[in-house]
Symmetry: C2
Subunit: 134 residues, 2 copies
Amino acid sequence: MNPATRLQEASGLQTGTGCGMHLLADLHGVAAEKLSDAELLDGLLRQAATAAGATILHSHFHGFGPGLGITGVLLLAESHISAHTWPELGYAALDIFMCGDSQPDEALQVLVSALAPQRHAVRRIRRPEPSSTM
Amino acid sequence: MNPATRLQEASGLQTGTGCGMHLLADLHGVAAEKLSDAELLDGLLRQAATAAGATILHSHFHGFGPGLGITGVLLLAESHISAHTWPELGYAALDIFMCGDSQPDEALQVLVSALAPQRHAVRRIRRPEPSSTM
């Protein structure tokens, strides 16, 4: 997002339309090999950001060792997507926070489809809190 | 966190004690100059991580231009801390996600104390969802 767009979005925030949506997704029963592959996860989060119409500014993924988990983040002009994984448990904690016109649910759909969890739970949190008068 | 510690933590997750806590904090009425200073925010998030007993792996902060907001993240062995700011509105969206023995509330205290918002709201979300049987 360029500064002008960001200011426009900020105006939306000021008039009470809110900044955006923060999705917290817990994925269970994911194949271990997907959750220990930093390159794969980096690529998936990039696909997710693109599907959401977001602008990628930076990414960094850290692996804890062969067969172990990954902790990584994609920094966006619209906020961020993060992934923290425990392959030994088949568990991934994702968060997708996007402001402006981007579509966090599109990003979530890409990630759930690719990681194919046996089950997942999503919590949707509006930012800032709805009671805010700014 | 080293891999052994991470596996130990994962065992905690498996036995139902949960991974950790995800704090979403909305800060309102923050002085604009604090919210457009990437170096200051990077330093503050580092102080916050240290206060929480977390291990910093990587940080990246992006400024949208003079007087405009910052989008940044500190990647931790225990997960992450992010900050997205709108100085023109005095608003900062923070999230602090920490697994293991680290203390996210200590990090929050450092950030709220330094940013001195006129008011703030915090939502606390346990990860994974409490109903999880893993």
